[in-house]
């Protein structure tokens, strides 16, 4: 009835679930900001879920992440967040589209 999840279903015409873009967390570094979870607080897209004991972050909804967005990376005091290579992703998107 509503089209509420429309924007995330595809990206550039490609099924969103075929695009491996979401934050990768380095668990040697992430400490959940001692319970503050800066990345979680920053991102409005419900990508993250906080874990406790020990505090750290988990990517719960990877496909909610906006392809090519890296905004939360800079929020992380531990530099624990990374993303795939953009050029790889772009190549993949182009290839998917070419396949039709």
């Amino acid at each position: 009835m509503t089209s509420e999840s429309e924007p995330e279903k595809t990206f550039m015409g490609v099924d969103r679930t075929k695009i491996p873009w979401w934050p990768r967390i380095d668990y040697d570094r992430c400490d959940g900001c001692g319970g503050e979870y800066d990345c979680l607080k920053f991102c409005p897209h419900h990508v993250y879920r906080p874990l406790e004991n020990p505090t750290r972050i988990e990517v719960e909804n990877p496909y909610n992440c906006v392809v090519f967005c890296k905004a939360c990376q800079k929020m992380c005091p531990q530099d624990a967040i990374s993303f795939p290579e953009k050029s790889e992703i772009l190549r993949l998107i182009k290839a998917e589209r070419a396949r039709g």
Binding site: E4, P7, P44, V67, L90, I93, R97
Partner: protein
Amino acid sequence: MVKLYVLPCAGYDRPGGAITRAVAERIAAEDEEVTIGSVASLSAERPGEMRSLLSSPVIVIDGCSMNCARKIAETRGARNVQTVDVTQHTDPQDPEEKRVEAVIKVVREILRESRERPASPKRETTATTAAPEAGAPEENDLSIRVDKFTMTVRRGYHYSDNDFWVSVEGDLVRVGATDVLQQMVSDIYYVELEEVGKTVELGDDAGRLESTKTAMEIIIPISGTIVECNERLVDSPELINESPYDEGWLYVMRPTDLTELELLKNAEEYLEYAAAKARKELERQTSGGGDS
């Protein structure tokens, strides 16, 4: 027959701004001689828009103390401007509908007066009598209203799913942020741009924006080399809010591969996408207790 030009402000996302838009629409609906003006089109000095502005009495409705609508009307040479300041006629505590009503009353009053007084001596506009043209600036813009957002897209531009636009200008392309992005992030107060000469790929970030709501990277919608930056944004980042498709452009680039345009959406497709996005955003705000 006196045409009247009613100009709501550009602060769509602010409570006052939404009111000015609603008032203009209602007034235009009940009075066929009223033309709704567009701050964005005035910024761009569109011929049809300039003609309407300069040939009619102008009523400006500003939603906040920035008075952006009055300022643009004045800088574009409007005479005979009457200003209605929403903040002076309404109580911000009141529900929006009540505020809209209050402002409509004021505008109706001005309309009546301006009709009773003989219209100012007829002036032929010498300013821009441009090529044959339908007159309405909206011929280039498509809008959709989703609750308090009225989102506009420009026909002929190409749009990325990250909410940036590309317009082809000969061998070069101009890129900018869409009206939709501008409204979602709200007032932009800082823009950092990448340097001329840098080569970027579609999806790369080049520069960033900071607004009262968030900070974000500029995600480039097409691969190429930056040949020009909009230096005016350094001092006037609000141009992105006021005129996203014209004065608020970000870069001019020499594209590496124009076939990438196929990856982008056209105006109609993007409008649909944007509307869905806005609905979602509204849901989030209402369910999450959103912003105040």
